[in-house]
Symmetry: C2
Subunit: 327 residues, 2 copies
């Protein structure tokens, strides 16, 4: 078996997740991890795999089939994708929804010019959830689509709480409201406000002597982040925090509730219950790296999204085996 040779750019949660996911796929091989730090100071989990500086990546042009870019969406990926797509097929998890069209164009320009494939915005949302939103509205054109997130840790909201004066550490969980979910699943097609769909729950460790009432008020009234939601704030000890709140669970569901042509109610649902958000995202990135490699072999170059890639390309199995075993 010829293996798909993978490079990882960035060794945070996502990079470590990609490294771990590769070990679950016999047809994939990790060639090198690239970092902006001093490579000598970065120890990775896989023995015998090189850690190199990002500035040396170009020299791996013939040794790596797909570069998985594990940077953040705010500043890393808008710079990294056009840079690495000059030499490599790439996969990334760019997730700033509003900026996807411009990000796609930038990636497409470079990839098309350099005969590479750049698969953008891979993961579960954007990603698998997007696919199911598309499927729902095409298969049931008359209907409503609902996306619920959670129970899950929101990184952005946790950061916002941690910035409040007197907060030592904090996590924020987004919770879908069960009554709303039940109404949607029943086919009722309710109109739901932001407050009716999700609640927010914060677990906060305070600095000694901090004013808990003031902290609660500042959190629940915080515009954009909390003001539009029912928010509960729990104050806990550092021990409890470390024991119960260091994981990164997440998930959610996409529901399409519609009517087919003669008026029958039809409901389609896709859901994820994730023990670890970054580890799952990494697993999705690795499956799409396989597809990126196959597209490049077929000379189907340019930027792609999950909407452009048939599921068959995600699998190590041949089309004939897929038809026989899974159809």
């Amino acid at each position: 078996m010829t293996k798909t040779r993978i490079g990882i750019v960035g060794y945070g949660n996502l990079g470590r997740g990609v490294e771990a996911a590769i070990t679950q796929n016999e047809d994939m091989e990790l060639v090198a991890v690239f970092t902006r730090r001093d490579p000598a100071g970065v120890t990775i989990a896989t023995e015998g795999v090189k850690v190199d500086h990002v500035d040396n990546a170009e020299s791996y042009k013939d040794a790596i089939d797909v570069m998985i870019l594990c940077g953040g969406s705010a500043t890393d990926l808008p710079e990294q994708v056009p840079h690495f797509a000059q030499w490599f097929n790439t996969v990334d998890s760019f997730d700033t929804h509003a900026k996807i069209p411009a990000f796609f164009e930038a990636a497409d320009t470079v990839a098309a010019k350099n005969d590479t494939v750049a698969v953008i915005s891979v993961g579960w949302d954007p990603g698998l959830f997007s696919l199911n939103r598309l499927l729902g509205e095409t298969v049931l054109p008359v209907g409503h689509t609902y996306t619920f997130w959670g129970d899950g840790l929101s990184q952005g909201h946790s950061d916002a709480v941690r910035r409040v004066n007197g907060v030592k550490n904090a996590v924020q969980y987004t919770l879908p409201i069960q009554d709303a979910v039940d109404r949607v699943r029943s086919g009722e097609n309710p109109e739901l406000t932001t407050r009716e769909k999700h609640a927010r729950e914060c677990f906060v460790v305070v600095e000694e002597g901090a004013d808990e009432a003031a902290i609660t008020k500042e959190i629940v009234e915080m515009p954009n982040y909390f003001a539009d939601y029912d928010t509960t704030v729990h104050f806990i000890s550092e021990e409890e925090f470390n024991a119960n709140h260091t994981g990164m669970p997440h998930g959610g569901f996409v529901i399409r509730s519609g009517e087919s042509g003669a008026g029958d109610k039809q409901i389609l649902e896709f859901s994820l219950k994730l023990g670890s958000n970054p580890m799952f995202t990494s697993s999705v990135l690795v499956a799409y790296a396989r597809a990126a490699h196959k597209l490049a072999v077929k000379k189907d170059f340019g930027a792609k999204t999950v909407f452009d890639i048939p599921y068959g390309l995600l699998s190590p199995k041949s089309p004939a085996d897929l038809r026989k075993e899974l159809l």
Copy 2:
């Protein structure tokens, strides 16, 4: 907007469902319905659309973009697909899992030779469920996949009950067993026997003077159909049957329960709750007819399955709009 021009072959439940689904898609147009019966005796729902004999279909070669074949898998489709794929792009719902590889080869030979596209085995199982089985095992290569069906009416099992002596009318519902579903959703990865996964429930109207005990015994002991399941038989009146058991609900779920690379539990689920099984299958057929047309325009000819077709091709929206609105 240039519309995709559709022909329907066969005017049973599925054909009527396709006709109804087309009315929900502004970019689709029904050109004609083809029947093996005397066309004069077939009245269809849509005004102004022609009903013609299947033997005249060839003359519509330039007027129809995609022919949706709505016959049965046992004898109709194995004959119809190679026949119509000579002249038309086709979509069918062939669902005899074991015969799919041979069916695909036969369709591919004709379609490749005649520059047409034949999309085979479209619907929800095979179809959307197959896609989610594939997705589950590629994204979570370490794990178990479970498919549950129901609550839903099984046509084959209903037919089997109706063949029992003394039975005037009957339906059979397949029911997933909640305890098994709960165990799977919890991530327990249980080994489940046939009997532990699904139960069967029959609603039977008997001929006057029939022996109910004998009928029950014959049903529950019937090999292949019922012997491996816990089966409940209810005897009801013809009135109750007509009031409550003439719909064709179905559904089910595909669950992938696995572990990502560092041992975190991850669960993916796709589920359908269908008020009408044939109406939903028809809606899926129509979405894939749109894709078949787009593939033909791109000259990507030959037989295809759902595994080969990116979700983007199912939508009437442009790739740019999909990225902007749904990703």
